[in-house]
């Protein structure tokens, strides 16, 4: 359903759950908290900026357009524009659920979903994501659509469709692509977790284990003789 090359989808999936230790170190250094013991209130913003900027880099690499969506003084979201003028937006899975369930109707995700009229004919996959009673006041809906158009004024045309990439990085990294209809019901979903590359760096993460030490020897414990690694040169 997504009109993007597999390499691009894979790149997006990996960017969303990327964990860059170098960036983390530089961030802590920049806020005078190298030890990590101090405060780091700006950390979530830092992570999102890193994610968004990596998506911009990726878009440039693959010749895609991107949009920086200004949502007041506090937030600037990055959206990728696909080859058929479709939009791709990015959320943590938890935040996306909260927005759909409890968020204001003028949240940019909900405004963007209003462009998905094409999906209204599709059967919702799971209606539990939405509120049981949707306030479908025709006047306010028109008003919201107007807000949506204004929000995307930097785009020449309205987007053809809007897709969401949602990730979870809290315990196990997972990424999904989803599409909502204008009633904010999920009509399509694809698990992209398979595309996340194994991150062996986690294996080398400091384990804070400090066991006893013994000399190296490859011989089984029952053999008492020590294996000689080196020998004397014939210099005598």
């Amino acid at each position: 359903m997504i009109n993007l090359h597999n390499d691009i989808v894979k790149a997006i999936a990996n960017i969303l759950v990327m964990d860059d230790p170098e960036s983390r170190y530089l961030y802590l250094q920049s806020i005078n908290n190298e030890s990590g013991e101090g405060t780091q209130n700006s950390s979530p913003q830092h992570k999102w900026d890193y994610r968004y900027n990596s998506l911009i880099e990726m878009a440039k690499k693959f010749g895609l357009q991107y949009v920086k969506l200004n949502r007041g003084k506090l937030w600037e979201a990055v959206l990728i524009v696909g080859p058929e003028n479709e939009l791709y937006v990015f959320f943590s899975h938890k935040n996306m659920r909260n927005i759909i369930k409890k968020g204001k109707n003028n949240h940019y995700l909900k405004l963007l979903n209003l462009f998905n009229t094409e999906f209204d004919a599709m059967a919702p996959l799971n209606s539990q994501m939405t509120l049981p009673i949707y306030d479908s006041d025709a006047e306010s809906e028109e008003n919201l659509k107007e807000q949506a158009r204004e929000m995307l004024s930097m785009m020449e045309e309205n987007p053809s469709k809007v897709y969401v990439f949602a990730f979870d990085h809290s315990f196990i990294s997972t990424v999904k692509a989803l599409a909502f209809n204008t009633r904010h019901e999920v009509v399509w979903e694809k698990d992209l977790t398979e595309l996340i590359e194994p991150n062996y760096r986690l294996v080398l993460k400091e384990d804070n284990v400090n066991p006893d030490k013994r000399e190296s020897k490859n011989t089984p414990e029952i053999k008492k003789e020590k294996k000689q690694i080196v020998r004397l040169k014939n210099i005598k």
Binding site: I172, T174, E206, V209, N210, R214, E215, V230
Partner: protein
């Protein structure tokens, strides 16, 4: 002849001790400008101050009045992070690495170490699975589990040193060094953590040796560095867990049950987390099964530490220790002669403590036991009796 103070040696000793110019100035009770002058050769410490250097920095006084009689060509050090190389805590590690190259080169004249393989023979092999198998073949490792990667590394001719004396935790690192026409690839074990983490960590350094020939890591940009690290990790997983043996064995078991990995950990000497990732890499498990396994790890509180991590002893390199024992046991050199011979050959004066750290032995091995340090004198009791 008046000995000339060597400012660069003072800087080396200061960096080894992780002191800033200001901190050293305070310890020596001089201004920081004066320490800068000492280091740049614009001024010399007084005799009194020069005597203090030994106490403050732990180097013999002669160290500061001699110059390097050697040149080590270092091809760049593979630290885990690109930024690591700029951190203060890594400077002593790099200096200790230099000393270990000298000790290894010194021992080379007496000792037959396992020869370092010519890594160029692997240059044409692009497939990492094939590459890992070739190295296994060259070491007669077959497809069996690796019981002790430290021993494998030493038998492959690497110089392996343990440096857990550091206050700051430093991960394993490695570098190719050439001195007097001899090339040594030195792996420093760093803060190993568990035995199973060390297995992966040292295999990762072997990966750098074979994969990143003629690459100076300090010249790479951020993305290149990350790619290089990922390649070394991938190599480590393949080297420790071959597809043809580990992969086939895993396929005969319940692949999405954490107990399978618990049992395999004892056999393959690799962490459960690494085995799960390798299983995923080999497409033996799906992403969902991987997630299920991690949930099981988490549920059983097996994530950190994993089972066996606390009770399995970490192994230490033995080649230097065995070399010294051979020299002393065979009466080639006495222990106390070794620092002197190194000083003679390389103009490098190191204390027994520093040499002991590099060689993984007790400092006493480098001390002269033939002469008692205890000076006894008979009491003047006759005089007392007569009075």
């Amino acid at each position: 002849m008046k000995k000339i103070f060597n400012g660069s040696r003072l800087k080396e000793a200061r960096l080894y001790n992780k002191l800033t110019i200001t901190e050293l100035a305070e310890k020596l009770n001089v201004t920081k400008q004066m320490v800068s002058k000492y280091e740049s050769g614009k001024s010399e410490p007084s005799f009194e101050k020069s005597l203090q250097l030994n106490d403050v920095l732990g180097y013999p006084r002669e160290f500061f009045y001699t110059a390097d009689k050697f040149f080590i060509d270092n091809e760049g050090t593979f630290f885990r992070s690109r930024l690591t190389a700029t951190q203060k805590s890594k400077e002593p590690a790099s200096i200790a690495l230099k000393y270990s190259v000298i000790v290894r080169d010194f021992l080379e004249q007496f000792i037959d170490f396992p020869a370092l393989q010519d890594r160029e023979i692997y240059e044409g092999i692009d497939n990492p699975e094939e590459l890992a198998l070739s190295i296994r073949r060259s070491m007669d490792l077959g497809l069996e589990p690796i019981h002790d990667i430290i021993e494998v590394a030493e038998l492959m001719g690497f110089t392996v040193i343990n440096m857990d004396y550091q206050e700051d935790k430093v991960d394993a690192f490695s570098s190719m060094n050439t001195i007097n026409g001899n090339s040594y690839f030195v792996i420093t074990t760093g803060d190993s953590g568990s035995f199973y983490r060390q297995q992966f960590s040292i295999a990762h350094e072997i990966g750098h040796w074979v994969l990143h020939q003629n690459i100076n890591p300090q010249e790479l940009d951020k993305d290149e560095y990350k790619t290089m690290e990922n390649e070394a990790n991938k190599f480590a997983s393949i080297f420790l867990l071959p597809k043809e043996s580990f992969g086939n064995e895993l396929k005969t078991k319940i692949v999405d049950e954490i107990d399978t990995y618990y049992n395999l950990k004892r056999k393959w000497n690799v962490s459960m987390a690494a085995m799960i990732m390798r299983a995923r890499d080999l497409n033996i498990i799906s992403a969902d099964q991987e997630a299920k396994l991690y949930k099981q790890l988490h549920y059983r509180k097996w994530r950190n530490p994993e089972p066996f991590d606390l009770e399995t002893k970490v192994t230490l390199p033995v080649a230097f220790k065995q070399s010294l024992e051979l020299l002393i046991d065979e009466n080639i050199l006495q222990g106390h002669e070794i620092p002197l011979k190194i000083a003679e050959a390389y103009n490098l004066y190191l204390t027994p403590k520093m040499l002991a750290m590099i060689c993984g032995v007790e400092p006493a091995i480098f001390m002269d036991n033939s002469q008692s340090k205890v000076v006894l004198k008979i009491k003047d009791f006759k005089k007392k009796q007569s009075s």
